[in-house]
Amino acid sequence: MRVLLKPVQRWVWGDAARRGLRLLRFAEVEADGGRDLVRAAELTDDPRLRRLYLRHARDERRHADIFRRRGLELLRAHPAGDALAPQRDWLAPGERGLDDVDVESGKDGPLLAFLHLSERNAARDFAVYRDAVGGDEATRDVFHRILRDEEFHMNYTRAELARVSPERQKRLLWKARLSRLWKAYLRFAVALAGLIGSVVLTLQYFILLPPFAWISKRAERRAPAGWIELSPEAGRGLDRQY
């Protein structure tokens, strides 16, 4: 799949402004991931894991800074026309930003399995992006530096999973894989449902709403500007939602 997407990635990463925006988005994803790891460190009872999670969180923050710095450099050199447009989450591949990791349960085994798969996935993606950026040496170097850390993250999460859950480690990894697939499906389903909902609502907007809009605009013209006096009885009953 990744091989098939390579030409697409080359096209996506070929434009400097788009590259800058994507790096800024990656910075947000890394920062979010860092916050999840901080939370994991706060919740775990295992001192060794706490230290590793905190180190990992510091790495993520550093990555966020690196991505952000390079993204800004690119955007300053090549201003993006749609820089203010909202960035869609599903455009940002990589780590936990997409995956809504369940940190709050405080269970280290499932979390480590999830982190291991996420890091491995991110490492593969970043390797593809590194190759896709073409002659942009500075961006290539950014991915290269971050990939080194990803390797450490992959290794420690796997080793710690084996330590924390020696007997259940394979099961936990499979569960994490299935969970990622399920979440990918959910994301797709939610996006599709959102799209269908938007189409239906837009049709309703143009078909059903015009007479009400006309009435509403007429009423607006009659509405007084300035202070509106309130009756002493206003807002008395608390059992109403309106």
Binding site: L24, A31, R35, V38, R39, A41, E42, L43, P47, R50, R51, L52, L54, R55, A57, R58, R61, R68, G71, L72, L75, R76, P79, A83, L84, A85, P86, E104, Y156, G194, G197, S198, L201, T202, Y205, F206, L209, P210, F212, A213, S216, K217, E220, A225, G226, W227, I228, E229, L230, P232, A234, G235, L238, D239, R240, Q241, Y242
Partner: protein
């Protein structure tokens, strides 16, 4: 009676529990979920409040939501209809947003908590703000002013409140309705300046001090006054009523120039940077002028000496300072949580006093209603990491501060509201600009134009700051900005903003005894009993709540010493280095 107040779904979700007329617990969801400005249904906050009182949901007499969801839906739909057909893109977005969860609050509360629908009540949004401001203030009768972006329809209300043995009344007499909103005016400039709305407004206030209000006349075009002393927004300059993408219109851009791209730094040495600062200064001045004028009119109408001010706009300390000085009120009370989170407490108190008619009770004059910190937890975690753990002694902490160390200070229950008032604070020496830069660089990771606040014993505040009558009271919850006396500005460089002001907190001993003693002990060493006080968190994260969260913040930042209750932990370079090597 046991009444649970809730706010949720927009920003700063929170829960507050009132038992027999007194708050028992109140906390923002973000402090427990660790997601900044968490707007989700505040399940963790509810759980904490009930646990604190040893209650189950069945024990509650009422659950009060802070606004009327269907009235809000009415406003959203009407606004979209009024801007037809321009609102065709905003419509699906808004409908999915409202009809997903926000419109079905009674059912959600009922299903999540298992309480019957008849126990679920709804106050109006600005009633909740008014109650949060008036019923938490130490006054029997006061004028009330609330202002925010928008609630259901109201954006600003004025009225009066009275409480005593004869009962409690909160009467909102007049209101200004959406889309005419001071909060939306300020938020639109916040968005145009490239900051996040509902989050970056205080950055606009900080930036304003660097600019000149030379565009105030242009801003006044956007918000002309009406003949009756109110105001309206000229909607040709705005787009928040018809667009989900952008709150300002092309005409706005023609008037003020292109917006700042969020990722561009503000360089005040450039013309572009100064343009943004001038615009910030201009909108700040116009906001202040209108608020002062409305407050003055309210004072003339009511003739009362006290004003209770609530709503998100009441977080604007510069405006609050001017209201106190210029409106004629002798005292201005702003609660610790004037924004939507505080509505949870306001809704519960309103239901208790006004709806159920329960007798008036005096509330504790503080905002420490959140979870308490556990020093033993800090000692255990730090001990596991090989850090030096010892007993917290005020004198040693004063020595740390005098030696230029930064202390993360956790004491007792955490604050309800956005300010660190001395229970979850970062403390540092306030004398050198280098300290401000160090905090920004190593801990807070934030823009250099944002100031830090000082904290000072209440009775000594006047020595260092120019406080008008009533100023010390306004500064109790860090709600006012006042000038630093010129002779002290150089020695208080880390907390003196570029315009010579500071958003100080005045501290009485009963409010936070340990911190008060620390201020005096530090004063003996430095000659100035003033400390820099900022919230204990890293950029993008909520203020810490538990010892474990304080510890993780300590480990990831340049904090030198961490205190939790009676436990003190110091960072040791050798221990740190050893750990780093172990996992390198």
């Amino acid at each position: 009676m046991k009444i649970l107040g809730l706010s949720a779904h927009y920003h700063d979700a929170a829960a507050a529990l009132v038992v027999d007329g007194l708050p028992v617990a109140a906390v923002q969801e973000e402090r427990l979920s660790r997601r900044k400005n968490d707007a989700a249904f505040p399940l963790a906050a509810i759980e904490y409040c009930l646990d604190e009182a040893g209650l189950e949901p069945d024990d509650l007499d009422a659950v009060v939501f802070y606004e009327r969801p269907m009235l809000k839906f009415d406003r959203v739909l009407t606004t979209l209809l009024r801007s037809f057909p321009r609102s065709y893109r905003a419509f699906p977005h808004a409908m999915k947003n409202m009809l997903g969860e926000k419109a079905w609050v009674r059912g959600i509360i009922s299903s999540r908590l298992g309480v019957p629908g008849r126990k679920i009540l709804f106050t109006e949004h600005h009633q909740s703000h008014a109650a949060a401001a008036f019923l938490t203030a130490p006054t029997r009768e006061a004028a009330i002013l609330t202002a925010d972006g928008v609630g259901e329809w109201a954006t600003l209300t004025v009225g009066r409140g009275a409480r005593g043995p004869g009962g409690t009344t909160i009467a909102l007499e007049r209101e200004i309705r959406f889309p005419h909103s001071l909060g939306m005016l300020y938020s639109t400039f916040t968005a145009w300046l490239g900051f996040a709305v509902n989050e970056g407004e205080y950055k606009v206030m900080g930036l304003a001090a660097y600019g000149r209000p030379n565009m105030a006349e242009a801003v006044r075009k956007l918000v002309p006054r009406t003949a009756d002393g109110a105001f309206r927004l000229d909607l040709d300059y705005f787009d928040f009523h018809g667009s989900a993408q952008r709150s300002f219109s092309d005409r706005f851009v023609q008037l003020f120039g292109p917006p700042r791209r969020p990722y561009d730094p503000i360089d005040l040495a450039t013309a572009e940077g100064r343009r943004f600062a001038d615009c910030a200064a201009s909108v700040q001045l116009v906001l202040e002028d209108i608020l002062v004028d409305i407050a003055r009119g309210l004072h003339e109408r009511t003739g009362l000496p006290d004003l209770c001010f609530g709503g998100g706009v009441a977080l604007n300390g510069v405006a609050n300072g001017r209201i106190l000085r210029e409106s004629g009120f002798e005292r201005v009370f702003v609660p610790t949580a004037p924004g939507d989170a505080g509505c949870a407490l306001g809704a519960a108190l309103f239901a208790d006093r006004v709806h159920f008619g329960n007798p008036d009770r005096d509330l504790a004059d503080h905002g420490f209603w959140g979870p308490a910190v556990d020093g033993a937890q800090l000692a255990r975690i730090a001990g596991e990491d090989g850090l030096a753990v010892d007993e917290m002694l005020i004198e040693e902490c004063a020595d740390d501060l005098a030696a230029g160390r930064i202390i993360g200070w956790m004491d007792g229950r955490c604050e309800f509201g956005p300010r660190a008032l001395g229970h979850r604070s970062l403390l540092a020496a306030p004398h050198e600009e280098a300290m401000r830069d160090r905090l920004n660089r190593d801990i807070k990771y934030r823009e250099e134009f944002r100031p830090f606040a000082p904290i000072v014993p209440e009775e000594l505040a006047d020595t260092y700051f120019e406080l008008p009558p009533g100023g010390a009271r306004l500064a109790r919850f860090m709600s006012g900005v006042f000038p630093v006396r010129p002779e002290w500005r150089e020695r208080l460089a880390a907390v003196t903003h570029v315009d010579g002001t500071a958003r100080l907190q005045t501290l009485s001993r009963d409010f936070a005894p340990k911190l008060y003693d620390l201020l005096l002990a530090y004063g003996k060493r430095s000659g100035i009993p003033v400390l820099l006080n900022t919230s204990l968190n890293i950029a993008g994260e909520p203020i810490v709540c538990s010892a474990a969260e304080g510890y993780s913040t300590f480990r990831r930042s340049g904090i030198d010493v961490l205190v939790a209750g009676s436990v003190r932990v110091r960072k040791r370079a050798t221990a740190e280095a050893a750990r780093e090597e172990e996992y390198a």
